[in-house]
């Protein structure tokens, strides 16, 4: 098929515009990265802008020496993998179930699930419930509450509803039960959306730490984010005391300052694993190969 002039022009513009935007996205990240490998005092006085100066990797060595990091990394990986599995299976299945018009009280239960996105009663009541369920200092506290994610349920439901009905109907007439319908017929067709909610859920699990803050006092259950977050916020307790106007006795400057280099290094350490895993998911939702086919 010959490309018209308009087509070619569009192509070129498209490539360029995306190229520019991508650079806009990369440059800040690149800027942060070179801060972490440049000499710290040069970085602090703002002299490192376009390329690293005085390259060293000490910042990474320092952060990687933080106590409990390796155990925390394992905990984070475990919760990410298991949590994502749980969320994908749970939310996808529930989303599918809600597409069935026949379900008793479908609209009511759907709304029941959805409106939970818009309210929360505060951390203390949530904490007390978790405590009463024995989920404090318990690994399952990372997994169970995440299984039903209303947002993901909505996505799956919307997606499945856009699939042709003929598909399911023919299988139903052949006598397939609900679960078989879901696993053999519907699931393979919604792979892109499943991949999407998998990546959303995985990133969520990887980045969350508030639950660790409140629920865990056993340091074997600390996640990577939590350990690093604690490491970063060392200066905050003194700052909080100063803010409350209690006077500034015994202030030690070394305790008050969090160097930006360290903060950025931590950010890099947290992001890089995600970037490594991401391409694995990407091929499921970037259009390339067509998946599934509907035959009359």
């Amino acid at each position: 098929m010959k490309q018209s002039f308009g087509d070619r022009l569009f192509n070129v513009c498209n490539y360029i515009v995306f190229g520019i935007f991508t650079l806009l996205c990369i440059f800040p990240f690149y800027y942060l990265f070179i801060q972490t490998i440049s000499d710290n005092s040069l970085s602090a006085s703002g002299q490192v802008t376009f390329y690293p100066k005085g390259i060293h990797f000490n910042n990474y060595v320092e952060v990687l020496k933080v106590k409990g990091l390796s155990n925390a990394a394992i905990v984070s990986i475990a919760r990410t993998v298991l949590g994502t599995l749980g969320t994908v299976i749970g939310s996808a299945f529930l989303g599918y179930l809600f597409t069935k018009q026949k379900m008793a009280g479908r609209v009511f239960w759907y709304r029941f699930v959805i409106i939970t996105m818009y309210f929360n009663a505060g951390i203390i009541p949530w904490f007390i419930i978790m405590m009463n369920l024995n989920l404090t200092n318990n690994f399952w506290a990372y997994i169970l509450p995440a299984i039903v994610s209303p947002f993901n349920v909505i996505l799956v439901k919307t997606f499945v509803e856009s699939l042709p009905e003929a598909l399911e109907e023919s299988a139903e007439m052949d006598g397939a039960g609900t679960i078989v319908l879901f696993t053999r017929i519907v699931f393979p067709l919604i792979v892109p959306i499943v991949a999407t909610i998998a990546i959303f859920s995985a990133v969520n699990q990887w980045n969350s730490f508030m639950d660790t803050v409140f629920l865990m006092t056993n340091d074997k259950l600390y996640t990577l984010q939590f350990v690093l977050y604690k490491y970063l916020n060392e200066s905050n307790s003194l700052a909080a005391i100063i803010r409350s106007g209690q006077g500034m006795e015994n202030i030690d400057l070394s305790k008050m300052q969090t160097s930006t280099s360290i903060r950025t290094t931590v950010a890099m350490i947290v992001v890089i694993p995600i970037l490594l895993v991401y391409p694995f998911f990407q091929r499921f939702f970037v259009k390339g190969i067509m998946i599934g086919a509907v035959k009359g």
């Binding site: 569009f10 995306f18 942060l32 026949k102 959805i114 939970t116 818009y118 919604i190």
Partner: protein, 314 residues
């Protein structure tokens, strides 16, 4: 794929009808939702007392709606609340309007034929999503600070400015600036969903249309766009329900006293007046109000959807 109806299936068929069987399958998940999202709601009762943590509720003083009315108890406070709601309104509206951008991003991205370029762009544009707002501000500071900011230096060199301008402290166009930062941060990531949606569109539709002689833009307009619209509308209407919840972090890091008037959204205002830290009842009252408003907006949006598109989202 010609399964014979096996006798053993009858075992399931006669006990519970399909209607309730479906509900049964859903039941364990509904229980999870009940336990983790609804049980904690008992905490809303705290909003009506002078609750102190650690003491049993029946020992604390009942105060009715005191905390709710304290938000607007005098004239100056009313002014403050009005100002803050204006900011929230402005920023949320801009957010809603620009929420279509990821759709266009996705649609144009799939038009790129070179596979490696497409995937590279897709991966790299998600990077800003992973940079926390604190670090985003560090970048912003590097770019826009008065003394050493790159932008100021550049503008002066190019002769467009004679003096450095304090961009970060300026109260002008704050809503726009905040929206632009949000877009930069979220565009690549939000587009993932729409890219996935486009991937699921049946290739046959495209083939058939091409046979009919449709050009590229026709294809985009008549096939790709409708394919993602249902997803988009669902998300749009859900965002309407989140109208008053702008979040805290972004506005917290960018605020300073010169732009505070226009950047202070509701969440930030509540945080700034410092009460939610220790006055538990007040914090609960605020959270309760916001939840009720959100749910109300959700049902309104649903009604809108019924009128405009003929179907409800929930």
């Amino acid at each position: 794929m010609n399964p014979v109806v096996e006798p053993k299936r009858k075992r399931i068929n006669f006990s519970i009808s399909l209607r309730y069987r479906l509900l049964l399958y859903a039941a364990p998940f509904l229980v999870l939702v009940l336990v983790f999202s609804y049980f904690p709601l008992y905490g809303w009762t705290y909003a009506f007392f002078n609750y102190r943590v650690g003491f049993p509720l029946f020992e604390t003083e009942f105060v009715g709606f005191k905390w709710f009315t304290s938000i607007i108890s005098n004239e100056y406070q009313m002014q403050e609340v009005v100002r803050v709601m204006k900011n929230t309104f402005g920023i949320s509206t801009l957010g809603l309007i620009t929420s279509i951008f990821p759709v266009f991003f996705a649609i144009f991205l799939v038009e790129i034929r070179t596979n490696w370029y497409k995937r590279l762009v897709q991966t790299l544009t998600t990077l800003p999503n992973f940079i926390s707002w604190v670090l985003v501000y560090a970048i912003a500071f590097m770019l826009f600070s008065v003394d050493s900011g790159i932008i100021n230096k550049l503008m002066i060199q190019l002769g467009l400015q004679s003096q450095p301008v304090n961009y970060l402290a300026s109260p002008d166009h704050i809503w726009l600036k905040m929206t632009l930062w949000s877009i930069w941060k979220g565009l690549g990531w939000s587009a993932i969903l729409y890219i996935a949606a486009i991937t699921s569109i049946d290739q046959e539709l495209y083939d058939a249309a091409k046979v009919d002689g449709a050009g590229r833009f026709r294809l985009m307009w008549h096939i790709t766009l409708p394919g993602v619209m249902s997803t988009f509308f669902v998300l749009l209407l859900l965002s309407i329900a989140n109208f008053i919840n702008n979040g805290l972090e972004q506005y917290f890091v960018f605020q300073n006293s010169l732009n505070k008037d226009t950047i202070e959204v509701l969440d930030l205002y509540v945080y700034n007046t410092g009460l939610v830290g220790y006055n538990f009842s007040f914090a609960t009252a605020v959270s309760m109000l916001k939840s009720l408003v959100s749910i109300f907006l959700l049902f309104i949006a649903n009604q809108l959807s019924k009128w405009v598109r003929g179907e409800s989202i929930i």
